[in-house]
Amino acid sequence: MKVLVAVKRVIDFKTHIRIKADQTGVETANVKMSMNPFDEIAVEEAVRLKEQGIATEIIVVSIGSNACQETLRSALAMGADRAILIQTEEKIQPLAAAKIFKALAEKEMPRLIILGKQAIDDDNNQTGQMLAGLLQWPQGTFVSKVEVLQDKVKVTREIDGGLEMLSLTMPAVITTDLRLNEPRFISLPNIVQAKRKTIDIIPLTEFKVDTKPRLQILKVTPPEKRKSGVKVNSVAELVQKLKDEAQVLS
């Protein structure tokens, strides 16, 4: 079966972000960019399904500028078979991304689409659910375990109170949580091999979908800074301060 995986290029999770002085957003020029960590987990899961003989072809797809080719290359080096870049300079919001992925899914007909549970730039946590809704497919969100059976996929979801197990009739959409797997390290031979795999570049305009931004970001500002605290020298001093100064202990 075919598996489609969405990968987004985001500021690397270890990088401290800088807010632009004019408050229009976050500085992305000359900043280390990487694959969204949840998408790395999504690619890894697809590759494992292929290694188990369940997936036959893995297609990775990114919506964004030409720079996303680098992200797609990493996914190919992890073991994806081919890549698609849906090329645009626009900032694509989740509903628009979901519509684009829907159009692509109708063309490629995967049995499974795996996305990250959230992109760590805008922290939206929406695209997978929106895509599943538009396709009228079942969804397994925040997934920490995947088991593909005949025409069903069983998933374990990380929910606020613990875990939930669902059985979804394929085709289905899955979004990954952190503990689904640990993405593999990409070796040099794999990087070399990935150079021979193809990246199809399709201009966004070829998809007849409405991608007009529905939401306006009026400004991006830094959060309030916490007052710096004090170091205490002993546990006794700590407890005394919590009682008398902070008054959070009685």
Binding site: H16, I17, V26, L95, Q118, D121, D122, D123, N124, Q126, Q129, M130, A132, G133, L134, W137, P138, Q139, T141, F142, S144, R157, E158, I159, D160, G161, G162, L163, E164, M165, L166, S167, L168, T169, L178, R179, R214, L215, Q216, I217, L218, V220, P222, P223, R226, K227, S228, G229, V230, K231, V232, S234, V235, A236, L238, V239, K241, L242, A246, V248
Partner: protein, 310 residues
């Protein structure tokens, strides 16, 4: 303006997050309806201040509130409202984006402040930036963070009208197979006044258990860093952070946690933060009101003794 709030509840009671979401809704309008999926909780729901109608659907059809039929239900109901709100929990985040897409509306996640009925404040980049977002959608779909809004109160004399809805949407796509819910006598993480949280510094499952006694002495909930959860010291629902739970208790005690930005994202709005770590340069000290540079194992023992003295 008329607002629909999607309630989160179990078989018996509403979740605290529902009360916080009602406050967000009530700050915009006095016309707030609450959707519940079980008649069992409708009496409790009807007593919340600020609710006009409690809409109840047949629990058998929407058992476990699976997205595949709850989202079309919400999307159907949404057409009569200007805003649809749900708590920004795994429940709300699962349902609401799907419902919004079915209505062809964008949605705004993790709202922490309502600036006006079409403009909202939300954290991005793990809370390292705040975005002011304006939406011109006909229906605003929002998930709301509990930490941004006080809990609505129960008012014994308040009696919202309870309305049974017979909208039946079948679900042939997904099936509930089971759950492992961690039942604990301690307060719920997102509602606790005090949280004791442990990280990789605890080094083992046995050591992590050392935090239990402390938590019980303080009447606190237990939390954990991702590293502690990944290592198996604590269950997944203990995780605090960008991709776990967001908490803002009166007192947060971080023990053996370095303070990665992803962890800070989930706890830096706590009123008072205490950090115990043997590395004086650990980033957690930058947000801690009281920092103790010490071995956590000795400190834990001393802390217990000190608290037992009270």
């Amino acid at each position: 303006m008329t607002i629909l709030v999607i309630a989160e509840h179990d078989q018996n009671a509403l979740k605290r997050a529902t009360y916080h979401t009602v406050t967000a809704a009530a700050s915009m309008s006095s016309d707030v309806d609450l959707l519940v999926f079980n008649p069992q909780v409708s009496t409790e729901a009807a007593k919340i201040s600020g609710i006009k109608h409690v809409l109840v659907v047949d629990e058998k059809n929407y058992a476990h509130q699976l997205a595949e039929n709850v989202a079309p239900l919400v999307s159907e109901l949404a057409k009569q409202y200007t805003h649809v709100l749900a708590p920004a929990t795994t429940f709300g985040k699962n349902i609401l984006p799907r419902a919004a897409a079915l209505t062809d509306m964008a949605m705004i996640s993790d709202v922490i402040k309502i600036i006006s009925p079409d403009t909202f404040l939300r954290p991005i980049y793990a809370g390292n930036a705040l975005a002011t977002v304006q939406s011109h959608e006909a229906i605003q779909f929002l998930t709301v963070r509990s930490t941004g809004f006080a809990a609505a109160t129960q008012n014994q004399s308040a009696t919202a009208e309870i309305k049974a809805l017979d909208i039946l949407i079948p679900n042939t796509l997904s099936q509930f197979e089971g759950e492992e819910i961690h039942i604990s006598a301690r307060p719920e993480l997102t509602a606790a006044r005090i949280i004791v949280a442990g990280g990789r510094g605890l080094k083992s499952l046995e050591n992590f258990k050392l935090l239990e006694k402390l938590a019980d002495t303080l009447g606190a909930a237990l939390g954990a860093s991702r590293a502690a959860v990944d290592a198996g010291f604590a269950p997944n629902d203990y995780q605090v952070g960008q991709t776990g739970k967001v908490v803002a208790p009166d007192l947060y005690i971080a023990i053996g946690i370095s303070g990665a930005i992803q962890h800070l994202a989930g706890m830096k709005d706590s009123k008072v933060i205490v950090a115990i770590n043997n590395d004086p340069d650990a980033p957690i000290f930058q947000v801690a009101d009281y920092g103790l540079v010490a071995d956590l194992f000795t400190s834990l023992q001393e802390l217990q003794l000190e608290l037992d003295k009270r």
